[in-house]
C-alpha cells in the first residue's frame, strides 16, 4: 500500500465518517493502547486498515522506566502489530510506569549517562521482541532535571544512533519545550541528522500564564496548529523533506472535515519545501 505524505490521528468520533465517506488524507495513525483488546474497537480498526495505511503510536510502553519495560504490555503490542502490520510504529522518549502503577501521562527523563543506558536497553529489548524499528518521539516537557547533563536533542540523537531507532519529530513539542525551557527551536531542528527522522507530528497547544506574567505552553492537542509551529515545520521540511507528516487533535475534537482541512494545510508546506 503506497504511503504519501499527510496523515491524521484517527479518533473514535470519526471512524464512521471515514468508513462511510472516505478521506483525502493519505494515512491514519491511532494510539496502540486503544486497540489492545479483541473487541469492537479492534474490529473497527481492521476495516480502516483495509482501506488506508496505518501507523501505531504508543503511549504506554514507558521506555524510560528504570524498572524496565512491562513484558505483558510488550506482548499485547506485538500481537496488535502482527495483526495490523502498521507501516510505522512509534513511542515516546518518556516514562509513565513505576512499580505497578501506570500514570496516563508522558513524564520527562533526566538526560544523563544512566538514563541513556536505561532507555537504550528498553528500546533494544522492545525492538528485538517486536522485530520492528521503533520511532521515538521527542517529548513536550514542563520541567528540567537538576542532574541532566545532555541537551534533550543530543540525548535523543544518542538514543537513535545507539539503538537504530528513528526519530518521530513532533514540531509542536519542540515549540512547547523550547518555550518552557528557553531553548532555541531552530537549533534543536538543525542538530538532528536528516536521516534519523522518519515521521513528523503537528498539533495545537495552549498557553498557561503564571502569576508573575510569564507563561508555559501546554501540549494540549486541543486547538489548530499555531503560526509558530507552521513556521518551524516549514523550516524543518527543508531538512527532513519527504517525511510523512501527521496532524494530532485529541481534545475539543472538531468535525472530521475541519480536521482534514487542517491536516491538508501541511500539503502546501510539503509541496513548496525544497531540501537544503
Amino acid at each position: 500500500m503506497e504511503v504519501n505524505l499527510i496523515g491524521l490521528g484517527l479518533r473514535h468520533p470519526h471512524y464512521q465518517h471515514v468508513l462511510e465517506q472516505g478521506s483525502s488524507v493519505d494515512w491514519f495513525e491511532v494510539h496502540s493502547e486503544n486497540f489492545m483488546h479483541h473487541g469492537a474497537a479492534r474490529r473497527l480498526l481492521m476495516t480502516v486498515r483495509d482501506k488506508y495505511p496505518l501507523s501505531l503510536h504508543g503511549v504506554g510502553l514507558s521506555l524510560g522506566s528504570a524498572d524496565g519495560v512491562d513484558k505483558e504490555h510488550l506482548c499485547r503490542l506485538k500481537e496488535l502489530v502482527c495483526q495490523l502490520e502498521p507501516f510505522l510504529l512509534s513511542e515516546h522518549l518518556s516514562w509513565s510506569k513505576i512499580n505497578q502503577t501506570y500514570y496516563p501521562d508522558l513524564f520527562p527523563l533526566p538526560y544523563h549517562a544512566q538514563s541513556l543506558q536505561i532507555v537504550c536497553d528498553n528500546i533494544d529489548l522492545a525492538q528485538d521482541y517486536l522485530n520492528r524499528t521503533l520511532l521515538i518521539e521527542n517529548p513536550s516537557s514542563y520541567i528540567e532535571y537538576t542532574d541532566s547533563i545532555y541537551r534533550e536533542v543530543d540525548f535523543l540523537i544518542h538514543v537513535a544512533q545507539r539503538t537504530g531507532a528513528k526519530i518521530l519529530l513532533d514540531i509542536n513539542n519542540v515549540v512547547v519545550s523550547c518555550h518552557n525551557h528557553h531553548w532555541d527551536p531552530k537549533a534543536y531542528i538543525l542538530a538532528i541528522p536528516s536521516h534519523l527522522v522518519a515521521e513528523i507530528h503537528l498539533a495545537g497547544h495552549s498557553i498557561k500564564t503564571l502569576e508573575d506574567g510569564t507563561s508555559l505552553r501546554i501540549d494540549s492537542h486541543d486547538a489548530p496548529v499555531c503560526a509558530e509551529v507552521w513556521d518551524l515545520y516549514a523550516f524543518a521540511l527543508q531538512r527532513f523533506h519527504g517525511c510523512p507528516t501527521l496532524l494530532e487533535w485529541d481534545q475539543n475534537i472538531p468535525e472530521f472535515t475541519d480536521l482534514e482541512q487542517e491536516a491538508m494545510k501541511a500539503t502546501r508546506y510539503a509541496n513548496i519545501a525544497m531540501p537544503i
Partner: protein
Amino acid sequence: MQTLQCQFEKSLLDSQANDLAFIASNHKRERLNIYRQTVMDHCRAALAQTFPGIWALLGKECADNVARLFCQEKENLPTTGCLEDWGSTFPQYLTQIKALTALPYLQDVALYEWYKQLSYTAPETEVFLLQSNFPLQAIIQLIDNPSLPEVNLNQGKAWALIVRDNYQVITHWLSEQQWYQIRAIAHAG
C-alpha cells in the same frame, strides 16, 4: 534513576511535597502541577467514558469530584498501560463515599456500565450476567430519557445479560428464571 522516579511520583501524589530540588526549572510547583493535572484529567475522562450513567446521575461537578477522590488513592490508579483495563474497583468505591449513601443503587449502575465496557472490549462469544436488587432497567431507561417518570426503587429487582453483537453492546433484560438458567448453562460450559 529508580530513586529519582520514586521522588517524582511522591511529589506528584503529594501536592504539598517540599523536596523539589530534583527540578532545575523555576516555578517548580506550577510546572509539576501540569503533570498532576494531566494525570487527573486523563483518569477522570477515562472514568467518565466508562461510567456515563454515573456522570448523568450525579451531575458533572459531583462525579468529577468523586473521580478526583478515587484517583487520589494510589491503589486505585491504573496498573496497566491500557486505560480500557481500568475501572473495575470504581463501582465498589462508590459505596465508600458517605455523601452517596442515599443513592444505594449507584454501585449497580456502575457495575452494569463496567460489564458493558468489558463486553465492548471482549470477543463476541463472551457474555456478562448481572443481577441487581434495584429496578436497574428502569433506572437505565431514566438515565437515557430523563423525561420519564421517577423510578420507584421498591418496584423490583433486575436480571441482565450483556453481550456484544458486532460493534454494538446489547443488554437483554431477563426474568429471574431465565437469568438463572443462562447462568447454569454458562457455568456448565
